[in-house]
C-alpha cells in the first residue's frame, strides 16, 4: 500500500546573519527513509516534534515532493498523481480541519460526495453508518466553525471516509481530545481496520493510541527511521520500565516487593521500577497489603522516553543493552528475549560508535550533552515542575494516562508550530539525558551528576545500568 524507498526531503532555510546578509542552509527533514506498509496494516508512526513525521505524511499524500528517493502509495506517485491518489486515500489532520469552515457539516459532507464522485446510493448508506458510529447526528446542521474540537474531529473522520478509501492517513487525530471522544475515535478506527480492512497510518504522541490500536510501530528521529517493529519489543529494547510511585504514611525503609525494584526515596515517597513481565496490578495489591500507603501511582513508560532513549543511543546499542539487562535481571522482562529485528536499524550516526560496546555510558552521552548545550540548559526548569505537578496530582487522575496526555498535548502543539517555523536548530528539542527513561526528574549528564547524585539511577541502560544491577542486587 505504501512503499518508501530511500526517501529524503530537505528544506532550504534562509537565516538572517546580519542586517542585510542572509545565509542559505539546507536542512534535512527526512533522510533515507525506507519502509513498506502492506494493505490492511495498522501502523503507528512516532517521533519527537520536528523529527519528520509530518513531512513524511505530506510526502505520502503528495503535498510535498521528496528531494530524492521514490514514494509509491496505492501504486501511484503521490506528487505527480496527487488528485488521482486523493480519490483513493483519506487524510485527517488533527490540528486543522479539511472541512469547509463556514458550511454546515451536512453540506460539507454532501460536497465531499460530489468532489469524490461517490454514487448517491452508496453515499447515503455510508453516511448513515458514519453518522451512527461517530454520533454525528446532533451537530450535522451546525457550521463547522461552531463545532467543538471533538465534534470537528469526528466530522473530519467522516469526511475522509465517505469515499471509502483504501488507506487512511491520520496526523495526530486524538490531539487535544477528551477521554470519551478519544475512546470513540479509537474504537471507530479499530473497527474500520478490522472490518473494512482499511490500511491505517497514524502519527501520534499518545502512547494510548498506539497501545490500543497499532500492531506495528515505526519511530522516526531526526529525519531517520530509528525503529520498525512491534511495540512490546520496542519497549524491551529501549529498556523503558513502568514506575510505581508510592507515598507511605510515614518515611520508612525501602519497600521490598517481588517483581519491583526500589529506586529511590524522598521522605515518605518512594520510587520503584516494575519489571516488564510482571503484572502491575499484583504489585500494587502487594504494596497496599504490606505497607501503610497514603497514595500510589503507576506511570507507564512515556513514548517520549522510549523515543528519547533511541535518540540517545541508537537502536543497536539499545538492543544490546536490552539483551544484557535481560540476562542480569533474570525474572524481569522475559518478553525482551526476542530481540527486535528492526527494518532500518540505525538511529543517527553517532561519532563514538566506533568505540563499540566498551565505551562507557558517560562517553555515549557526550554528543547529546552537546546538543543540549546549544539549546536551553536541558530544559530542567521548564519540565521538572510539570513532572512534579503530576506527582502531586490525585492518584486516580495520574493513573489515567489519557488524561495526562490530554492535559499536556496543547503545549506540544505549540512547540510543534514554533519548531517548524524555525530552522533545524530550534527544532532539535534538547533531550535531557538524565531525565530520559526515569520519568522522575533526575539528571545524569556530566556536570550535574556529581552535584546531585540520586540514590540510584534507573533506566539509563547500557553498562552503568548493568553495573548498578550487580552492586545492588535484584529482589
Amino acid at each position: 500500500m505504501i512503499e518508501l524507498d530511500n526517501v529524503s526531503k530537505s528544506f532550504v532555510v534562509r537565516r538572517r546573519t546580519g542586517p542585510l546578509r542572509r545565509t542559505r542552509t539546507t536542512v534535512p527533514a527526512c533522510e533515507s527513509i525506507s519502509f513498506t506498509v502492506r494493505a490492511g496494516e495498522f501502523v503507528g508512526y512516532l517521533g519527537p516534534n520536528g523529527a519528520g513525521k509530518s513531512t513524511t505524511i505530506k510526502m505520502l499524500t503528495g503535498i510535498l515532493t521528496p528531494t530524492s528517493g521514490s514514494v509509491v502509495v496505492a501504486g501511484l506517485d503521490p506528487s505527480r498523481q496527487r488528485t488521482t491518489l486523493a480519490r483513493r486515500i483519506g487524510v485527517v489532520f488533527g490540528q486543522r480541519t479539511t472541512l469547509w469552515w463556514d458550511l454546515p457539516l451536512r453540506d460539507s459532507l454532501a460536497l465531499v460526495r460530489h468532489l469524490y464522485r461517490v454514487e448517491a446510493g452508496a453515499h447515503r448508506a455510508r453516511l448513515r453508518t458514519l453518522v451512527d458510529l461517530l454520533d454525528l447526528g446532533p451537530f450535522l446542521d451546525t457550521p463547522v466553525r461552531q463545532l467543538s474540537l471533538g465534534q470537528r474531529m469526528r466530522g473530519d473522520l467522516a469526511a475522509a471516509l465517505l469515499h471509502d478509501p483504501e488507506l487512511l492517513v491520520l496526523d495526530e487525530p486524538t490531539i487535544g481530545l477528551d477521554v470519551v471522544t478519544k475512546a470513540t475515535v479509537r474504537a471507530f478506527l479499530e473497527r474500520l481496520n478490522a472490518e473494512r480492512g482499511t490500511t491505517i497510518l497514524l502519527t501520534t504522541h499518545d502512547l494510548g493510541d498506539i497501545e490500543r490500536l497499532c500492531r506495528r510501530v515505526m519511530i522516526i528521529d531526526r529525519g531517520r527511521l530509528a525503529y520498525d517493529g512491534d511495540l512490546d519489543r520496542l519497549r524491551a529494547a529501549a529498556g523503558a520500565e513502568r514506575m510505581l510511585v508510592i507515598e507511605l504514611e510515614r518515611p520508612g525503609p525501602p519497600v521490598r516487593l517481588p517483581g519491583a525494584r526500589f529506586v529511590r526515596a524522598d521522605g515518605p515517597r518512594q520510587w520503584l521500577v516494575i519489571g516488564s513481565g510482571v503484572n502491575a496490578a499484583s504489585v500494587v495489591a502487594d504494596v497496599a497489603a504490606r505497607y501503610a500507603v497514603a497514595d500510589i501511582a503507576l506511570r507507564e513508560p512515556d513514548i517520549e522516553d522510549v523515543v528519547a532513549r533511541l535518540y540517545r543511543r541508537g537502536i543497536p546499542q539499545a538492543v544490546a543493552a536490552a539483551e544484557k539487562s535481560v540476562g542480569l535481571l533474570g525474572g524481569f522482562g522475559g518478553a525482551a528475549g526476542g530481540v527486535p529485528a528492526p527494518g532500518r536499524p540505525r538511529g543517527r550516526e553517532q561519532p563514538e560508535s566506533g568505540q563499540g560496546e566498551d565505551a562507557g555510558a558517560e562517553q555515549r552521552l557526550q554528543p547529546v550533552v552537546e546538543v543540549t548545550g546549544r539549546g536551553e540548559p536541558a530544559g530542567e526548569g521548564e519540565r521538572a515542575p510539570r513532572r512534579q505537578e503530576e506527582i502531586d496530582a490525585p492518584a486516580d487522575e495520574r493513573q489515567r494516562g489519557n488524561q495526562r496526555d490530554h492535559r499536556r498535548s496543547p503545549s506540544r502543539h505549540d512547540d510543534d508550530a514554533d519548531d517548524e517555523a524555525g530552522g533545524r536548530h530550534e527544532r532539535e528539542r534538547p533531550v535531557e539525558p538524565g531525565r530520559v527513561g526515569d520519568g522522575v526528574g533526575q539528571r545524569v549528564d556530566g556536570a550535574d551528576r556529581a552535584r546531585r547524585t540520586p540514590p540510584r539511577r534507573i533506566g539509563q541502560g547500557g553498562r552503568q545500568h548493568d553495573a548498578e544491577e550487580k552492586s545492588e542486587g535484584v529482589p
Binding site: K58, A86, D107, L111, Y116, D171
Partner: protein, 271 residues
C-alpha cells in the same frame, strides 16, 4: 488545473454554488454588498468624468472613446476578478497551513481558492462596466463593420484571459514570497486601473513596457485602436491590433507553468 477542463468547470460550479448557498443565508446583506461593490467599482467613472469636465479630450481621445476603454477593461477585469480574484489569498492559505487540506482533496487547489467565499455580491462589479459599454458603444461614431463588431467580444475575452493569468501568476509568486500579496495587488488591480485610460497618456517607454513586459496593452488598448480607427502613437505594427488572443494564450501558458512549479516547490508549514 485539472486535465479535463469540463471537469474543472463542473467542480468550480459545484464549489461556487455551495458558497453561494452559504452566503444566501443572509439575503439582505448579500444584496446590499452587491450594490456597494457596484458603487465602489463605479467610483473610477467619477474620476474620468472629472477630467472631462476640464478638457474635451485626453491624449486625443474623446469622452466616449475613453469610456469605451474604461468599459472594455473594466468588464474584462471584473470577470477575471469574479472567477479568480480570491486566488490572491493563496499566501494566507500557505501561511495558515490550510493549503494542505486543499491538497488532499481531488480538486485543484486553484479552484478551491478561487471559489472560496464565492458570493453573488461579486457580480456587483459588472454593473457599472456593462452599463457604460451599453451607453457608449452606439455613440462612438465609428462604422461598425463586421471585424470591428467581432473584435469587441474577442478583446474582452482576451482581456479576461490576460487578467486571469495575472491573478494566477501573482498567486504562484506567493508560494515563494508568502507575504507578497500586497505587492501582487499592484500588478492586478494596478493593471485594471491603468487600462481604463488610453495608454497614449503615458510615456513611450511605459507603453513599451506595458506591451512587451506585462502585456496589459493587449487587454484593450491595441484592439481598441483598431475599433476606434486610430493610429498607434508609438507606431507599433498593425498586426499587434489583433494579437490579443495569442498574447493571452502565451500568458496563460506561462501562468500555468508558474503555478505548477510553485506547487511543486511548496514547502508547507509544520504541524
Amino acid at each position: 488545473m485539472a486535465r479535463e477542463p469540463a471537469d474543472s468547470v463542473r467542480l468550480y460550479g459545484l464549489l461556487a454554488w455551495t458558497w453561494i448557498r452559504a452566503a444566501a443565508q443572509y439575503p439582505l446583506s448579500m444584496v446590499l454588498l452587491a450594490l456597494a461593490t457596484g458603487v465602489v467599482t463605479g467610483l473610477d467613472l467619477a474620476a474620468i468624468a472629472l477630467m472631462f469636465a476640464r478638457a474635451p479630450r485626453i491624449a486625443g481621445f474623446t469622452a466616449s472613446e475613453v469610456l469605451f476603454l474604461y468599459g472594455t477593461s473594466g468588464l474584462s477585469f471584473a470577470i477575471a476578478d469574479i472567477v479568480l480574484g480570491t486566488a490572491e489569498r493563496l499566501g494566507q492559505h500557505v501561511r495558515q497551513g490550510t493549503l494542505d487540506a486543499m491538497l488532499v482533496r481531488p480538486v485543484s487547489p486553484l479552484i478551491q481558492v478561487a471559489t472560496e467565499d464565492f458570493s453573488p455580491r461579486r457580480m456587483g462589479k459588472l454593473i457599472p462596466t456593462v452599463t457604460v459599454l451599453a451607453v457608449v458603444m452606439p455613440r462612438l461614431g465609428v462604422a461598425w463593420t463586421a471585424p470591428r463588431v467581432l473584435l469587441v467580444p474577442v478583446m474582452v475575452g482576451a482581456g479576461v484571459a490576460i487578467f486571469a493569468a495575472l491573478w494566477v501568476l501573482t498567486a504562484a509568486v506567493q508560494f515563494v514570497v508568502i507575504d507578497g500579496h500586497q505587492a501582487t495587488k499592484a500588478i492586478t488591480y494596478g493593471g485594471g486601473f491603468l487600462t481604463q485610460y488610453p495608454l497614449g497618456i503615458f510615456g513611450r517607454d511605459v507603453v513599451r513596457g506595458l506591451t512587451f513586459v506585462i502585456p496589459l496593452a493587449f487587454v484593450n488598448w491595441e484592439p481598441a485602436l483598431y475599433v476606434l480607427g486610430r493610429p498607434d502613437p508609438i507606431g507599433l505594427p498593425a498586426a499587434f491590433r489583433f494579437a490579443s488572443p495569442a498574447v493571452a494564450a502565451v500568458l496563460c501558458a506561462v501562468a500555468a507553468l508558474a503555478w505548477r512549479s510553485g506547487l511543486r516547490h511548496y514547502r508547507s508549514t509544520g504541524s
